[in-house]
Symmetry: C3
Subunit: 668 residues, 3 copies
């Protein structure tokens, strides 16, 4: 467990660097990420490199005992490059080329920029690949930020056609797979196919789904090219990329397959304001962030890069240190939250928690984004809390032993599948059916019961889990079907959310042995779940329907299905019209509607109980994590909190009950 | 009275067709619409036709005793055609060409596409024009859907200039008619005139109004070209087109003047969610649809194509059979609604009610749009209810006697004038002044009193009506003025809504004999109504004003006028400041503000009473229709309903009181 | 004090002109503005001028004893000019050229149009410059209306590069000033710099700020070219321009520096509906306008053009006479409001109040905008009230003595600085941080205490003021710093709002003597205010924080700061967490959050008291103004109002208590 920080030596006088490095180390920081936006300083003129400043920065950090995470600077190509290749930019969904003057002004499909990306990556890798200070690499920065994955460029159009030809082999196969006979959308050759945007009304869903797959594959290819260069020139150093929050623009599992370490950028307050939370939640958690936003992503990104022992390797590369600048509103974290978030990340298995950024920039776009230091170099609240974490890690002897292995396989697996999210985003069928929120609400239900959770891909090995949740999984591959059947056979509890098994891989109805060759949802899971979905409704805002789950009345909102339970399928909850809302067949539950977190918690409490897991509702704002031999508890609320699940023994750190924004650690 | 269905043989294996046809007939279906999106199957390569499959489909249906409504497939030209003429598409109001990949990707003004439209129409007409299975034709599909009537294409620009030259003859006449002296908008030739879009601030209202007239005329011309070809090659078969709901993009009276039958596509739940209803109404009627949405359109489209006896010929070409896919939310109809809607259409005079679609498509854009059958060919709820209607028609002997003639001329006429709607859309003067809603609320007031209504064009023969309502009619032509004066003379009650007579045909103030040559509203109706409008206000949301009408306090919202009543004009209701809200001069009422349905009902109850019409408020959700010798009652609510207006005699069908979603039919 | 009117002879038959002029004069009108949109009548064909009609119009007005304000007609170039130079138009922020067909269809940076502007201005100036009827000039009309100042045209791009080169001298200086090292935005030459729009994410703030400065300078240059021509050809006549309400598109102080008289267009009801007021305020003031909207702009525009005696010369060029057409909702003013607004303008020092427009146009875009007369030439309510004002002016002997000098320097100065507003608009940091509203709320607080206020530029002479308010002033120039220090030394009370001194002129953190060279807010004011801002938060909607100011609990919303008060700085109010919300050091107050009007009033009451100013809360809707030897009171409410601050002596006009919408004038 180590602390890190993001540092921009190019923003500051060289005279400050050594003192900065000294202060970092004194604060407990051991890792420093640099240079991800420094292209114009590294190569100020085409082909003219200035390494001196960066050499000196690396040496200075190294001399202070700090390891360097070096970056490829491809997220911000210089203006001279943009002027040489004006068509290198992504084209937005309105058809407008996206200009220079901020960042990420490139299209993943542009061959010319891809060559430049390799050229500059090679230059940096050759220069620093074997430098002793360099402990890891980061490719680019926040792939896909600012909606740059889907591009209407000519390069993307041509690339898409090639990708389709490769995937579908023949145009007849594509026509059949997509169902282009509908509305005379039949194609005679791959060269007839455009990007599915700016159509008169909605574009074909299978067309859109393949576009998203293609665009994701372009991100993967872009990244892999850099990884290969870095591996060649910097053997032994892990390669990482920093992913983002609530982000589904590309398949993170696929991109991460080429990486050694997954990192992500954790901004709990910004995410709380910017995403799907209710107005009440945005107010309630304005200064702490929703407790499950960090955990959800920690558990998600832990599942991306597994080492030889199957341990997920992941970092927080950017940890919010104070108010940020980019949300609609940017409140100040409550005192103690920077420490709490840092420990929360370690509790979920982070190797490194790295703060963004060392010192607040006094100029440019992010000048209102705080750092550990203020622009005048004085210490902000974040610095004090980072130093406290550093001291606590040292006091507990957790600071100094290489990558730690705190996280264990959790008893609960929840599937997060990017293609599944794309399908339901393309075809929500109700304006508020957000599949990512559905996953989050199920996760929140699990965490509110004190359960540890692995978020796993659809092709994960499910053999070790006692409770498996598929909250938003329309497509069930044969392998996943088999894994679920095996899990059910061995008695694992399985919970299927609404629309499970409702789609084929081409976003049509699942196959079936009816006269038409099609079946009804849940398709391949029909036998396992013992139900058939006869009709689906998206429920307008005023049309919630109450159901009783586990003795508790909760609301089904947004979505409900009319089920036909098979003989022998038990009905656990019913809608007011008598139809089944929740069924069980053996260890398999099927949920026929959208639930909020409270509904999921009621449902999952019963399933967890049957899985033999201790699962009791925690007070609002309390969260537990088991990490190796440690149990950690976190209080996100503004009240003192206690719970029966907490050990009675004296903690290694903290106390019971937990004070507001407090944490406690026990050995177990 | 016949049932029909929309069928897509090209979506299904040929092996299914015969069984499909058999099941249709068994369900009571007699008419099948096909091929409106089948161009790429009919002509897979340019000039290469494949008739075999369509021949077989037609024969199969024919053999099962089903009549075919054949369509021209022009709503979905194939990709190869788009690639040959990339400028054939409409250009949207942001200036972007609208791409291939959905439907309606053509501009009505494009000469090249117009030639293609004639070519393919002729090909289909020649092939099937005299086929015994073909009982009717449909041109294209849902003209103007997805905002394709107004196009910023070069073809439209040139066409608009030609149209203006023809309409205005000289540029000086245009300048005078529009009032281009304002803001130096004077033109020196027709070639200087652009389409009135993307201007710095709002474009000239007369310019915009003529643009809408032009665009409407292009739809008419496009349609007429097809009609002429169909008439030539398919003598004796009526030609229809399927119109849409709450749709004002073109003048339906003008387009329908070239047709034999008007049809429309009735989706009560989708329309309830997508249009101007209040949030409370969207919740209240989520699963039944607002009761007056179908009726309003039935009565509107009944007024489009009158046969030699003056009887309106119309069908429902697409009847919602279950949840749809295209509204913001798509709830499931309550059980019984598909039957209720079907009978409601027959009660308003429909010859055919045709369900959309036979079987839910398992793929493509509409896969979440239900049909009578599910994708696996099992029967959905809609199938059961359609079969019930078929059986009921047969039991009542209504099924089998050619086009029936149930509808009588109603005692009430309400004017629906597309140019009037355009005027008030162009110049709402208050953000919530929606003239279509104003019409709807007046209609709702009439229907809530149990009155049958004819919705008629502004040039209709008004001589038979006892109550005439002009709820939203700024332009009063000399003919309309004369018709109203004649009606008043014979004692018909006339109700004028706000802004009546407030505009000339060029969307300026009406002419008058003042020194300026202009007068005040209601312009040509001033003498008849005995009022002058001195000022108008659009009322911000919080500024409703109560008035008492018929003993009932109702709210004037959105709009009010300051009237100067002439000597002898009676003031029936006053605003709080004492000014007149509702006046009467002889049989002519003038209403100086916006009323919701309750206000209109109070006003119209009195007017109807004076017209000698029985008009008593019905319970919420109950609707009555008189059709020939039948009286039909419909209960849209979830309670048992009764009303004094219902006959005491035993009904032919159903019972009194009416159960929720029930209907009853009496002979009268 | 004179009345005026806007007149469009070109809209009406010549036969009406003499009678119009006679009626104007009889109504008390003495000044008539004409011809600002008449280019296409003046020059119907390129180079072909038709002066006859305008000569006659001028003569007719002159003969009736009316002075003429002649205009350059450049706001509406004719279509023939647009067709000759299609690229003369501004390009909007989506990249679309803005078409012909309304007004203001030109780009301020287009050299070709600039030449045309000079050509037509010279032609008009030569024709009428020395005509005895012409008493003043107006350049163009409402510069910048409809968002035309910021243009993405190629002309603007080239002009911006030249402007940057001139301002920054070297590209290195620009890179340093902006901080382009951030995100590799470094430029190698001025020719690499684009307009900061359509970037991938937000463009660089310093880049955007310089763009706004450039765009503003283009407006100034455009205007100055006309002014120079008018001055040359029309010696002795003052030149004016009519500015707008709540408008920050350009620096009005700079543009006005080239004018003799500032005028503005006052539409209280339209502005109430269209700007930042709460829904409750929009309803409360729907028919009177918010009382401080006219006053705020009167005081603002009085500060623009000072004559040799330092007296601000300003008019209302367009006064709302009744409902307008352009707001989302357009209610009718309460009876008496046209009179009240007219007197309110005189009370703030207006030389002329000119109604827009004489007669309502029966055609074109503004046909629903009322005038003093209706389209049929009958008198509307506005005419009666204008005539009343004319009679009252005459009765009080105020009508006939040339420009009057009623206004005195106010005891209170509030700084309005356009660059300051741009900075906070570019970097709001919270979605609802509207700096213009912040200024307005502070102004409202002052006016609610009965204080007269001068709104002054940041470089104003502050030496005469007893209370100085900087409600929204991030940038503190050395001169302003010195002026504030001098004011504090002489004991003037100073109130600094949140974010005061938080930015440098290049929109970065202020300079400081820290190791980085940067300091914390309030930067140059830190010593004076005795505080340092350690952190800032934008507060989400639900997160208001109560503080007690002057014994009154008010809410801090939207924004709060964490202050470190220096030794000896007094804390006047604290947040719940104990941190300072309001401090005082000597006569200098610092406010660490956003206050609404009630909070500002509580704060300013205390500061005014210490400044020795009589300041007591007035009842809601009552406003006072001192003007020379007169005290005027205005009642915007619908109740009779009285206040201790009103004189007991009998007024010259009106009575005490004031009736609803009444006014009273006392000699003092
Ligand atoms: Zn980002
Ligand atoms: Zn449609
Ligand atoms: Zn304007």
């Amino acid at each position: 467990m180590k602390l890190g920080v993001c540092y921009y030596p190019e923003h500051w006088p060289r005279t400050l660097w050594a003192e900065d490095a000294r202060r970092m180390h004194a604060m407990g920081i051991r890792v420093v990420r640099i240079a991800e936006f420094a292209w114009s300083r590294i190569e100020p003129e085409p082909g003219v490199f200035d390494w001196a400043w960066l050499d000196e920065a690396v040496e200075t950090l190294h001399a202070a005992g700090l390891g360097v995470v070096m970056c490829t600077p491809t997220a911000t190509p210089p203006k001279w490059l943009h002027d040489r290749m004006p068509d290198m930019v992504a084209v937005d969904l309105q058809g407008r080329p996206r200009g220079f003057g901020s960042r990420r002004h490139y299209c993943f499909s542009h061959a010319g920029y891809r060559a430049e990306s390799r050229r500059i990556s090679r230059a940096v890798a050759e220069r620093y690949g074997r430098h002793p200070a360099v402990v890891a690499w980061q490719t680019d920065n926040e792939y896909g930020c600012h909606d740059t994955v889907l591009s209407l460029s000519e390069a993307a159009r041509q690339g898409f056609r090639r990708w389709l030809a490769e995937r579908h082999t023949t145009i007849d196969a594509l026509n059949a797979a997509w169902g282009t006979v509908f509305w005379s959308q039949v194609y005679r050759s791959f060269d007839e196919i455009d990007l599915p945007a700016l159509t008169v009304t909605e574009a074909h869903p299978a067309h859109r789904l393949d576009w998203r797959r293609f665009a994701s594959s372009e991100v993967r290819a872009f990244n892999r090219e850099q990884v290969e260069i870095l591996r060649e020139h910097s053997p032994g150093r892990p390669v990482s990329h920093n992913f983002m929050g609530f982000f589904t623009e590309f398949d993170h599992h696929e991109v991460a397959a080429d990486l050694d370490i997954a990192t992500w950028d954790s901004y709990p307050l910004g995410f709380t304001q910017m995403f799907f939370l209710t107005p009440e939640e945005k107010t309630r958690w304005a200064r702490t962030g929703h407790p499950d936003i960090p955990g959800f992503h920690h558990d998600l990104y832990r599942g991306l890069c597994r080492d030889a022992q199957g341990q997920g390797r992941w970092w927080v590369m950017e940890q919010q240190p104070g108010p940020v600048n980019w949300a609609h509103w940017n409140p100040v974290p409550e005192d103690g939250m920077v420490r709490l978030w840092s420990w929360q990340a370690f509790a979920h298995g982070a190797e490194v928690v790295s703060y963004f950024r060392w010192r607040q920039a006094p100029f440019a776009q992010e000048q209102m984004h705080t750092g550990l230091l203020r622009p005048d170099s004085s210490e902000d609240q974040g610095a004090a809390e980072a130093a406290q974490v550093g001291a606590e890690l040292a006091a507990l002897g957790l600071d100094d032993r290489g990558p730690v292995r705190l996280a264990v396989q959790a008893p609960v697996a929840m599937v997060v599948d990017y293609a599944a999210l794309w399908m339901l985003q393309i075809q929500p069928q109700g304006a508020d059916f957000n599949p990512l929120e559905l996953l989050f609400r199920a996760y929140e239900g699990l965490r509110g019961l004190g359960l540890d959770v692995d978020l796993v891909p659809a092709d994960a090995d499910l053999s070790g889990y006692r409770l498996i949740v598929l909250a938003a999984q329309p497509q069930i591959s044969p392998a996943l079907q088999a894994a679920l059947e095996a899990a059910a056979t061995r008695g694992a509890q399985i919970v299927l959310g609404p629309r499970a098994g409702s789609k084929s891989e081409h976003l049509s109805f699942p196959a079936g042995d009816s006269p038409t060759g099609h079946g009804l949802p849940p398709g391949p899971l029909s036998a396992l779940a013992g139900v058939q979905v006869q009709r689906s409704a998206s429920l307008p805002p005023g049309c919630a329907e109450p159901v009783v789950i586990g003795g508790q009345t909760v609301q089904v909102r947004r979505w409900r299905e009319d089920l036909a339970p098979a003989e022998g399928t038990e009905v656990l909850a019913r809608f007011a019209d008598g139809r089944a809302a929740l069924t069980r067949r053996g260890p398999v539950r099927y949920l026929a509607g959208w639930l909020d977190a409270d509904g999921w918690q009621a449902l999952l409490a019963e399933a967890a109980g049957e899985a033999g897991l201790a699962a009791a509702p925690l007070p609002e704002g309390l969260r537990l994590s088991r990490a190796g031999h440690l149990l950690l508890a976190f209080n996100f609320s503004d009240r003192c909190l206690d719970a029966p699940a907490l050990p009675t023994a004296a903690p290694l750190l903290g106390q019971r009950p937990l004070p507001p924004r407090g944490l406690a650690i026990w050995r177990t």
